[in-house]
């Protein structure tokens, strides 16, 4: 089974040519993962192989329960696959690593820490001095529009605000590989656009590898170089879709709209 190579030519994108050489390459080799449910095995990952180039942005879409979170957790080192392995820059991963940061599907904030402390948490556990960590945390808090809530406690936040704190926490550590699990699902359309633009900007600036689970096809097309489409039915193989649009992308550009329509149709929508 031939593994998926990184896009042979980043045709039509404005990625700098150095990209292929940059760090953060994620390579997945024949991943199998199943869970036991009602004493039966539920096969979630069924021999998935895939390579994401360093600095690439990959979106993962697929129906609820198809294994997106599971895949992301395997990549993060939080879940051990039954078979197969994950390589990062050629080295097999065992457990979590500092080059990766994950934005969970639920916010997972420390209930006893202020918003600022929660955002600085990632940096602080990595040994960054407190003052510096807080400075950087403040920067990313501003980015997600929560500068006014620095001292608030998680229970004082709305759902979308809590999710944005989780986003800021992951961004603050400036990982080589950023794993995002539906980070913007709880955001209103306006805030979502802002954060999407910020993510695109940060990604362009910092050139980290970005692997984004999302339900929003527009978001996938806006942010990703390629889109991985997973399915729940055991018969349908995963598909990989390239997004050959120049950046920064215009959601109203005919190419964008066409791509979105195609993708939706492939899901049986509209």
């Amino acid at each position: 089974m031939a593994p998926i190579a990184p896009p042979s030519s980043p045709a039509g994108t404005d990625l700098p040519p150095t990209l292929a050489a940059s760090r953060g390459e994620v390579s997945v080799q024949e991943l199998y993962k199943s869970f036991t449910l009602n004493r039966a095995a539920l096969a979630v990952l069924r021999g998935l192989s895939l390579t994401v180039a360093g600095g690439e942005s990959l979106a993962i879409v697929g129906p609820s329960g198809c294994g997106k979170t599971t895949l992301l957790r395997v990549l993060a080192g939080l879940e051990t696959p039954d078979r197969g392995r994950v390589l990062i820059d050629g080295h097999p991963v065992a457990g979590v690593g500092r080059e990766r940061a994950i934005i969970y599907q639920e916010p997972r904030l420390l209930p006893w820490a202020s918003v600022l402390d929660n955002v600085a948490f990632g940096l602080e556990v990595r040994g960054t001095p407190r003052a510096e960590a807080r400075d950087r945390a403040r920067h990313y808090l501003r980015l997600v529009g929560l500068q006014a809530f620095e001292t608030a406690l998680p229970r004082q936040l709305s759902g979308g605000m809590a999710q944005r704190v989780g986003i800021a926490r992951a961004l603050t550590v400036q990982p080589e590989i950023l794993l995002l699990d539906e980070p913007l699902a709880a955001l209103d359309a306006m805030t979502k656009l802002t954060v999407q633009e910020e993510l695109a900007r940060i990604w362009a600036e910092e050139r980290m590898t970005m692997i984004l689970v999302t339900h929003d096809l527009e978001e996938a097309i806006y942010l990703a170089d390629r889109v991985l489409v997973l399915s729940r039915e055991t018969e349908t193989p995963p598909r990989l879709l390239e997004v050959p649009l120049p950046r920064p992308r215009d959601r109203n550009a005919p190419g964008f709209v066409a791509l979105r329509r195609d993708l939706m149709r492939s899901f049986g929508l509209q």
């Binding site: 993962k33 036991t36 990952l45 069924r46 192989s49 895939l50 193989p237 990989l240 879709l241």
Partner: protein, 283 residues
């Protein structure tokens, strides 16, 4: 746009998650592993007992206070085969058992009520705190006056002391129940009782079990205090009586019996907790 289906490999047959086939020599290896597990678990305990035996028989420790383990074991064995200690075990188990059952029967519901209903908590807390701070040992004359010298006062002393760990742990457990779940249940119209049975109780189970384990131990330990007065049977009585007569081998035999009972109760509670909390995430 291009679906790059070719680049993705899907295996021909879907047989995931089959366990690895057994390796040759696996049984041997499993045996060694089990041995290592036992050692890592009981190594320290065995080391402690070995040290005791050596220190006592080599005379590093005063053997009249620390009899060698083999002497204790012999005394224990003799007491059991002669049936002398069996009576003690039976009566002590009965006393501790009734008292423990009573403290569970009182402590868990009361703890659930106090944890959940501020009115009840406010009303009962000061007097219970006062009682809790009062040693069963010191109050023994009072218990004797009020309850006599018979089983009642002994059981009550044990009950008194073992009530509070379970009560406190239950209250603590209830107060830590996820408020969001409580709110959810209430918003669906759950009454007080349903809330108890369906949300508070299951959520407080781990904390209640900590309380049960503390109380169980307390009940067995309090046997010694309870059987100091008005008793002529029981393991606690044997401990103190052996002490009074300087029979340290018998004293340790009774202490070990009490400890074994405690360990058995503890193991039973841990197993029960594992059963009750099967839903919780394995770590």
């Amino acid at each position: 746009m291009a679906f790059q289906g070719l680049e993705i490999s899907v295996p021909p047959i879907e047989t995931p998650a089959r366990p690895l086939p057994p390796l040759s020599g696996a049984n041997l290896r499993r045996g060694v592993e089990a041995g290592a597990r036992v050692l890592s678990r009981y190594g320290l305990l065995l080391g402690f007992l070995a040290l005791w035996q050596i220190a006592a028989s080599a005379g590093w420790l005063n053997p009249s206070v620390f009899p060698p383990l083999d002497r204790i074991a012999a005394t224990l064995w003799q007491g059991i085969v002669s049936g002398a200690l069996l009576d003690d075990i039976a009566i002590s188990l009965q006393r501790a058992g009734i008292a423990f059952a009573a403290s569970v029967a009182v402590g868990v519901p009361l703890g659930l009520a106090m944890g959940q209903m501020p009115v009840v908590e406010r009303a009962l807390d000061p007097i219970l705190q006062l009682f809790r701070q009062t040693s069963a040992l010191a109050l023994y004359p009072v218990f004797i006056l009020l309850l006599g010298l018979g089983e009642t006062s002994k059981i009550f002393v044990i009950f008194w002391a073992s009530l509070f760990p379970i009560l406190l742990a239950t209250i603590g457990g209830v107060q830590q129940v996820d408020g969001k779940l409580l709110e959810m249940a209430r918003s669906f119209g759950a009454g007080r009782l349903t809330l108890f049975a369906r949300v508070i109780l299951p959520a407080a189970v781990p904390a209640i079990f900590v309380g049960l384990r503390l109380s169980g131990t307390t009940a067995l330990l309090l046997l010694i205090a309870a059987e100091m007065i008005g008793a002529n049977k029981g393991l606690g009585f044997q401990v103190m009586n052996a002490q009074f007569n300087f029979r340290t081998d018998l004293m340790f035999a009774a202490i070990f019996l009490l400890a074994f009972l405690g360990l058995a109760l503890n193991a039973a509670l841990v197993a029960a907790q594992a059963r009750f909390c099967r839903w919780s995430e394995p770590r």
